[in-house]
């Protein structure tokens, strides 16, 4: 595999609705921002990997519309794997370059969850139509049942989870692209309406409209494009059971832990807490950041709940997590994973809107498909971590 770097990143502003633009016009906006950031022209892009999930936008094959933004005449591939769509699209673009088939490839994702009047019925169709759908399960209730088990097993409190929300909302205030901008404290989170117990409204992500593009280039090309590229150190993705009830322990994300160990082995990471400076994790619900921190080795089992409350995951803490404001404040679902990758890349470049000091290594993550898929990418300002 060839060495590859992220050389350009573009994001639209994410809002409840982006009525000013049509689907491909949002794609065009994100692509142009990424091209401008990389100092490239659309002619330089040799292939496009595109991600979205059709039912949120109510358009079958939205790629038919969006390919018209810079894709006509180019190789074009569509990816759709639930919440991991964005990250998997990034992985596809990366692998196109790493394999040697192309030198410059763009990943782009557009999603208009805001145009979907209610996203929960869509999410309900993601569970088994024969056995599970009648139970009303959707993304929120599935996260809530994780929280119930974690609270029972480890004594995690409503306040512990509220601190995650306070931290993400504080971070989003610094990010001009973030959707929800609220200056809130623990009391506001605890007093917000109950959605699916124990998760309250301010512990749940919004439905967002927007698009994001990330450009990958081979080593020789990347060096010419910019002097601060984000080098891809390692990436991986993993799958789990279909039925939620098949998972042995909802208090621990075991497949994510396996994927994390795989990633760290490829990368030469011995101690993730020491070796990784900042993480952008896919946490649309507060409990999920806790589970992700534990699975990815930033906290021991049952101790992830303490990290936000103790300030560890805040921007001035030892393990800044979701400095962009995260998925809790911005969720254009099929684009959200690629936003994680974009933000993790900007942290390496030193150009993030809520920049952490001296970032050498960053981690991007997404989960998707009713707790079923995980995708990870590790980025660095150095070409390799060791030696």
């Amino acid at each position: 595999m060839r060495r590859v770097a992220v050389v350009g990143v573009g994001q639209t502003k994410f809002r409840t609705r982006r009525d000013d633009k049509t689907h491909p016009e949002l794609t065009y906006e994100a692509m142009n921002k990424a091209l401008e950031h990389a100092g490239l022209d659309i002619k330089d892009i040799q292939a496009i990997a595109y991600g979205t999930m059709d039912p949120f936008d109510g358009i079958y094959l939205p790629e038919r519309w969006d390919v018209t933004s810079g894709g006509i005449g180019k190789p074009f591939m569509k990816i759709s794997t639930g919440g991991t769509t964005g990250m998997t699209t990034g992985l596809a673009a990366y692998e196109h370059v790493a394999s040697g088939v192309f030198d410059i490839v763009m990943a782009v994702c557009t999603q208009r969850v805001g145009e979907c009047v209610d996203a929960q019925p869509v999410l309900n169709t993601a569970v088994c139509p024969i056995y599970e759908r009648y139970s009303g399960a959707g993304a929120i209730s599935v996260a809530a049942i994780q929280a119930t088990v974690h609270m029972h097993k480890y004594g995690t409190t409503e306040e512990d989870l509220a601190w995650v929300s306070v931290k993400d909302h504080k971070n989003a205030l610094k990010n001009p692209n973030a959707h929800i901008k609220l200056d809130i404290g623990v009391e506001e989170v605890l007093n917000s309406p109950m959605v699916s117990s124990p998760l309250k409204l301010l512990e749940c992500c919004p439905r967002s409209d927007g698009a994001v593009a990330v450009i990958f280039a081979s080593e020789e090309v990347a060096k010419k494009i910019r002097d601060n590229p984000a080098w891809v150190i390692a990436e991986t993705t993993i799958s789990d059971d279909y039925y939620t009830g098949d998972r042995p322990d909802l208090s621990y994300w075991d497949t994510l832990a396996i994927a994390g160990r795989r990633l760290y082995r490829f990368a030469g990471v011995d101690d993730p807490k020491k070796d990784i400076d900042v993480a952008e994790l896919y946490s649309p619900f507060t409990i999920q950041e806790v589970l992700e921190l534990e699975a990815l080795g930033f906290a021991k089992k049952g101790e992830g709940k303490d990290m936000a409350r103790e300030g560890v995951t805040f921007v001035d803490g030892d393990m800044p997590t979701n400095p962009s404001g995260g998925v809790l404040c911005t969720n254009p679902i099929g684009a959200t994973g690629l936003v994680r990758l974009a933000e993790a890349s900007l942290q390496i470049m030193g150009e993030a809107s809520n920049q952490i000091d001296n970032v050498e290594v960053s981690l991007a993550h997404a989960w998707g498909g009713t707790l079923q898929f995980h995708t990870l990418m590790l980025l660095s300002s150095k070409k390799k971590l060791k030696g």
């Binding site: 569970v127 049942i145 117990s197 998760l199 039925y243």
Partner: protein
């Protein structure tokens, strides 16, 4: 100001339950819950399926499991979402006695207005039993919900 146009996806589907699912649903009519055993890992899988996803082998033996079991987890939803049940409703996972997997299901038979009380009654490990529909029709909804064994 821009114009907006409302559209809708309303597309009927008819999903196959498969041969294993069919046997499961036929058994529900007799208040029986059937699973299958994996010859390799030995897990009893409910709902039943033709192959074990972990071992990638055909499942072999049919096993009847109990209509009683333990709560794995629960959540109570208090917001109305389009097309989903009217709130409040309690969604959870119950692991039936004799099964190695849990079933996503509804829990009920108690007042759902106070979520903390619901979580206490249906805390992980709590014993529950199926409440069956009087006139069963071979659908998953033949099990109305799971209620506490001891009220």
């Amino acid at each position: 100001m821009v114009l907006k146009f409302e559209t809708k996806w309303e597309i009927p589907y008819v999903h196959s339950a498969g041969e294993h699912g069919t046997k499961f649903f036929e058994a529900l009519k007799d208040k029986k819950i059937m699973g299958v055993k994996c010859p390799e890992c030995g897990r009893v899988l409910v709902p039943p399926r033709a192959f074990c996803e972990r071992c990638f082998v055909d499942t072999t033996d049919w096993v009847e499991v109990s209509d009683e079991g333990e709560v794995v987890t629960v959540t109570v939803t208090y917001i109305k979402f389009t097309g989903l049940p009217d709130p409040p409703y309690a969604t959870g996972i119950v692991k039936l006695d004799g099964a190695d997997t849990g079933m996503l299901c509804l829990l009920g038979g108690i007042d759902l207005s106070d979520w903390k009380k619901v979580h206490e009654t249906f805390k992980p490990g709590a014993k529950v039993k199926a409440v069956w529909k009087e006139e069963r029709e071979g659908k998953i909804t033949d099990i109305l919900y799971f209620e506490p064994v001891e009220k």
